[in-house]
């Protein structure tokens, strides 16, 4: 026969488990990125600056 103390212990553990479940669910939602792979590729930074020194080097080369 389950007495009152057992019920209390069970309810406390159930409560703690649910709290952990809620916290882990929220944490997982925070940590998981919502950026798709396609978006990841699209937002890859692009350096628009050309190497002026290399261009000058090309210009200065002979026509051979």
């Amino acid at each position: 026969m389950i007495n009152q103390k057992d019920l209390l212990v069970i309810s406390i553990f159930t409560f703690i488990t649910v709290i952990f479940w809620v916290v882990s669910g929220v944490y997982h939602a925070i940590v998981t990125s919502q950026i798709t792979e396609v978006q990841e590729e699209l937002i890859t930074p692009l350096n628009p600056k050309l190497n002026a020194e290399a261009i000058e080097n090309i210009r200065s080369r002979s026509n051979l």
């Binding site: 009152q4 103390k5 019920l7 209390l8 309810s11 406390i12 159930t14 409560f15 488990t17 649910v18 709290i19 479940w21 809620v22 669910g25 929220v26 997982h28 939602a29 925070i30 998981t32 990125s33 919502q34 950026i35 978006q39 699209l42 937002i43 890859t44 930074p45 692009l46 350096n47 628009p48 600056k49 050309l50 261009i55 090309i58 210009r59 080369r61 002979s62 026509n63 051979l64």
Partner: protein, 225 residues
């Protein structure tokens, strides 16, 4: 079981339990246990999904704002790149000459011959490593430049580049100064050529003014597709 007897049984049980429920200790325990179970129940079925949905939506807003910012930056970068490209538009043919999309072995040979003729030396030997002249190729098919060629190594080390080396060895025969000029001109051609190693030796013991220079070199090409 007889319904009357059942009724009596439950009345007896109720009579036993009722005084118990009136004690403060039992009331407190019952309240705590029921409260905890209630909170757990609603936490599991209502609070958790709601909080997860809220957090997921907030995260989506944050991430999409970030993506939006990055895309704005990229659009600006592309506009700048377009302007930069326009500035060097006249140099594009020279750049494609420097790093063609195909091995262009024939034009390279012609350039080497022109260098030899210009400097008044003889092109006595020319040996290319196997190269795919039609279809696709990869680094495994064309030997990669050795570690001595630092510029080539830098290009090849870049993650996104697929610059392929075209190895060849060339031998020139002529006077010392002419050969020095040839070597200098090889590195100043309008096609990227790196010299990995070069050795110089006398062509003939009796005719000491004539020298032979053998150079192991790499030209490069950059298939865009």
């Amino acid at each position: 079981m007889n319904p009357n007897r059942q009724l009596q049984f439950w009345r007896k049980r109720y009579a036993e339990v009722t005084p118990l429920l009136k004690t403060r200790r039992v009331q407190a325990y019952t309240m705590i246990v029921l409260s905890l179970f209630t909170v757990s129940f609603f936490g599991m079925l209502a609070v958790r999904p709601t909080l997860e949905t809220i957090t997921t939506l907030q995260k989506q807003i944050e991430d999409r704002t970030l993506v939006n910012q990055k895309l704005e930056q990229k659009i600006n970068a592309l506009i700048t790149a377009q302007a930069e490209y326009q500035k060097i538009a006249s140099d594009i043919p020279a750049i494609y000459n420097m790093l063609p999309q195909q091995p262009n072995v024939t034009s390279l040979i012609i350039k080497l011959e022109e260098v030899a003729i210009t400097q008044n030396v003889s092109l006595t030997n020319l040996d290319f490593s196997p190269v795919t002249v039609f279809g696709t190729s990869d680094v495994a098919q064309v030997p990669v430049a050795s570690t001595a060629a630092e510029p080539a190594k830098d290009i090849l080390a870049a993650e996104s580049t697929i610059v392929l080396p075209l190895s060849f060895s060339v031998t020139f025969t002529g006077g010392y100064q002419e050969l020095v000029n040839v070597i200098t001109q090889l590195t100043r051609m309008n096609r990227i050529v790196t010299i990995e190693s070069a050795d110089i030796q006398s062509a003939d013991a009796a005719q000491s003014s004539t020298l032979i220079v053998g150079a192991t070199t790499n030209a490069y090409y950059f298939p865009l597709e």
